[in-house]
Symmetry: C2
Subunit: 222 residues, 2 copies
DNA sequence: TTTCATAAAATTATAGATAATTTATGATTC
DNA sequence: GAATCATAAATTATCTATAATTTTATGAAA
């Protein structure tokens, strides 16, 4: 009973909307109307506005004064930008987390990798992938850094879902295994190097548009 | 006339409060009471709450549901964390900005350095320093990265102001000049290396506490 | 005194209502 | 028929009011 009340209505709304934006249920550029959202959640628009502010800070929505807020759009340039930022920050985090990694953590991370390899849809792959990254980075004990990485992960996931919304081919994550291998050896710098290359790998995939022509879509797949 | 209305009340409040927090007028841990703030700005507490949310996202305030919001506190560990993040992200930004730097931009950056050297108080030094960093990084044309760096700068500035609130000794910024020198030569990697070391330099300074004993305070001075 | 329970005050969080602004609609003119 | 302007509808931003929660103050019992 307390757990439910731990959280404010605004937070709950922002979490759910964030999920919808990330998974692509809410498309880039879509208008977020405070009254509609308020009605859906059975709340007034005050907490809704606060939720919008949080989404704005996370880079998932953009707001123009007096004109309302829209789901943030994104392009290839931003995909690259986010990938570069993640490479730097995750590298930093891993360098500081590595000395505190236990073999039980690494085993858990390996399980997450296996779960990712066996995922039959994007959603569960993304979840497993995120779990892997969180597991090996959290011991750095830098809350601000981890929060920043989390936000970038969310944006990465948007790209991923927009490209691989329905179809998803099973694949084996060699990078994750290489990282774990180096970490087990205590070879931190090699682990960091692979991780930094890994998160910058931008997947490319031809997609049929409604008109029949094909175009390439991109997504971070690390 | 339009410029004043470009901005929402919530944004104006959050900007002013952010400045107070950064400069130390509002001390770490201080309670931010929405009704009081609302009254001061002649507004209701709805925009005040939105301003609080923005401060929270910037890491300048922390909010506990149903218990209100306080000015975020910080410790040496966080100083280090922010310095490390700045090093990585500013390095990344400079690497991508360098190819687009013109000699006129570098001249402006040099002027900012001179202005910093001649500053007789922390506030104007901080402003000049921030101008320097912005000038050489903005051409990277990565909005999300620049926004993240800006937020980290604000937090750095808090540390700075808390340590050097009143007294400020004039000093010459050799790092800035070295960076400009390398950039003028087109030696990007050396410029990045100096910058990354530069922003990680944590100043240390003995301060007399009210009891008479002295303790060391720390601040990023880059 | 100290501790605990209770009551009062202060404060937060949400809801409902109002004013101001933007977007949509349709008539009028060129 | 396209463009422009005026009007209406929708939507946002804000304010006032109410309910719920937490903190502070008060006083009785150990």
């Amino acid at each position: 009973m307390t757990a439910a009340n731990e959280d404010t209505i605004a937070n709950r709304i922002s979490r759910i909307l964030a999920d919808r934006i990330v998974t692509g249920q809410l498309e880039p550029g879509a208008k977020l109307r405070q009254d509609h959202v308020a009605e859906e959640f059975g709340a007034s628009h005050v907490p809704v506005r606060e939720a919008f502010r949080k989404l704005e800070a996370q880079g998932l929505a953009v707001s123009e004064p007096r004109r309302g807020v829209r789901v943030a759009s994104f392009d290839l340039a931003e995909v690259r930008e986010v990938a570069l930022m993640r490479a730097e920050l995750e590298g930093l985090a891993l360098r500081h987390a590595a000395p505190h990694l236990t073999s039980s953590i690494l085993d858990e991370a390996e399980q997450a990798t296996v779960a990712g390899d066996n995922s039959r849809d994007v959603r569960s792959w993304e979840e497993a992938n995120r779990r892997f990254h969180r597991l090996i980075l959290t011991p750095c004990a830098m809350p601000r850094l981890l929060a920043a990485i989390d936000d970038l992960h969310a944006v990465s996931a948007r790209f991923l879902f927009s490209a691989w919304r329905s179809e998803w081919e099973v694949r084996t994550d060699h990078d994750h295994r290489a990282i774990l291998g180096f970490l087990r050896q205590g070879n931190i710098e090699n682990a960091v190097a692979v991780l930094e290359r890994h998160v910058q790998w931008i997947g490319q995939k031809p997609v049929k548009s409604p008109t029949g022509s094909t175009r390439d879509v991109f997504a971070i797949v690390g």
